[in-house]
Symmetry: none
Subunit: 205 residues, 4 copies
């Protein structure tokens, strides 16, 4: 029975689903995207190709599930922490730090998802733009309130996005490093960059 049809998924179903998602992440991370065949993923999950494609009616659907799982976990994680922030400065710092901290918690899942999206045929330029928009709005509102200085919010948002996106592979390649240090430094870097210029002038005098 295909997973899309009947209503509530069985416990076994959910378990198998999770196993396969985990296996896909593992194989993609360990052996590379190209080596990640359904067969290899299934075997990593301790089952067979036939079974894998019984649970997910196509490879793409499995990969979609990997992506969705990350987005769901991520959205929850982010939302909880972002609400606590008040000022634009605080929100920006929280945004950057929370994002990076989340990546530290799930570097393989994030990395695998990036590879899946990168190789997906569906345009993900849109997805990138979507991910940029709220960040740009945050920066703009900080400028309007006077907390931030003058800069192009789009470019700044893209820059922030870029380092967040690069973080997964960096954390995976250097698991021995002090990620928390990296996180704080990255946030600090952008906070300095968005500071109003006016603040600097008077101190210089």
């Amino acid at each position: 029975m295909r997973s899309k049809e009947s209503g509530a998924p069985t416990r076994t179903q959910r378990a198998r689903h999770q196993d396969l998602i985990t296996a896909a992440i593992q194989v993609i991370t360990r052996d590379g995207y190209r080596a990640a065949s359904v067969d290899r993923i299934a075997r990593e999950a301790g089952t067979s190709k036939g079974t894998a494609l019984y649970h997910f009616s196509s490879k793409e659907e499995l990969y979609q599930a990997v992506v969705s799982a990350l987005f769901e976990t991520g959205a929850t994680y982010m939302a909880e922490r972002l609400l606590a922030a008040d000022t634009a400065t605080d929100k920006l710092r929280t945004y950057i730090e929370t994002n990076l901290r989340f990546i530290t918690l799930h570097p393989a899942h994030v990395g695998a998802t990036q590879q899946i999206l990168m190789n997906s045929d569906t345009v993900h330029a849109v997805q990138l733009d979507d991910a940029i928009a709220p960040l740009r709005r945050l920066l703009q509102s900080g400028q309007e309130s006077g907390e931030f200085g003058e800069f192009d919010p789009e470019v700044t948002a893209l820059s922030i996005r870029a380092i967040v996106d690069g973080a997964a592979s960096y954390f995976l390649a250097h698991p021995e490093l002090d990620h928390e240090h990296y996180i704080r430094e990255a946030a600090a870097l952008f906070l300095r960059a968005v500071q109003p210029a006016s603040l600097t002038s008077k101190d210089a005098s």
Copy 2:
């Protein structure tokens, strides 16, 4: 003639080589890395699979040529401009701007190369670290001379690298934008971020 052999390449050789390199870039950019089969690339170049593999003895060799072509063009372009810079500030701005400007000139080539390297089996984590090193040294020397403030040079270098790496896909997705504006803004952003604290306010972060 196998491309490995000695001797100067014929005119036809070079022409076909260039055609195939261009076609590979085109196909990867337009149809995606996975869709880029030798057959499709050859057809894009107006020739046949057999001919393509006559000129490049393997697909990997063709891809290697794509990468090499970019590195050669890029190295020349960068070297000329970086020499003109004097102070650390100037060097940093030049580094960022020149990099981005080069990408604006060859976004497809850069993007294709990124995909090739990303899918290559040879470790490119090393390559990334290598690309970071000179940048980190530039930042460090700026700190030692007092031009730059206090920050982690590694994290900052990685951030700069990240936005440069992200630029190709952004420029490709938005060819209508004013890239020169993006470039100046990106450079300005990092220049603000590396400014000495003494110049700025009292309570950065």
Copy 3:
């Protein structure tokens, strides 16, 4: 299931394996070694290339199976008959006759195996030397016991081996002949050749 994995082979497994081995022998024998592509073998077995490579993960593995199948059948056949022989003379006759009789039973399988080994990259010079050794020892022990006369055991062993190796193609080319006659004559030939010269003396008187 990849054939390397553990566990007992299914009934279907064994059946298909056997079908493909038989088909490989058939195609090699009928159409020649070079014409024996996986596709053609598969079609001969009434299946498809994909299926063939599902059961044997490479062409080489299929060929290896052809060779192994012959060796197993042959070893059993030979062992049973060789044990019965007592004297060196008897052993030699049995060795030659049994070898040739086995080839008469499976000329195509033997011929195909010879072609496979001959075209294999793995050194089969070694294999030939290995096949010679026991025969040489048999001849030597016959000489030591005085049953055999003086001759170079190596050269004689190689000669015996040579006619045994040539028998498959001869039997295949002449299926109408009386193979049993050939077998007995061949054995008699070598028995005469190894006879001690001294035995003949009494007849001279």
Copy 4:
């Protein structure tokens, strides 16, 4: 101009022909029959694929030339020596020894030719039968004159042929051995085998 057309071959033509024949033998012997592509052979001969197929209009024609060259050299060599022999015994010994001695002189050429014929589509069962016939006649006439004893001439001829055919690979695999010893032993072996049963006493060659 194709080699078949005009009358007398140029000196250059003959030289190139010989170079390519030698190269083919070399490549087949060193790298194996399967690895012997026209390209590789041409390069071994210090020329190009195009040139090779200018001189021999097909690969098969080149291989045919390898075979013919051997047969011509061999026929001359054999004929000279066989004429000297008188009795059937002498002829047989000469046949075996001369054959083997010729192989010792050209083991690579003989080996390459064997591989070519073995992989050729044209039936070479006929060729083998043809090669057997004169030998069988020699043995028969020896029997009729009473020089030889009773045995099946066909089987004996095949046996002699078999060891001669096996000699090339043996000599190639063991170039360090005393081939002359091998040759004399092989001849002696068969002479003992064809001896009349009654005669065996005093003069076993």
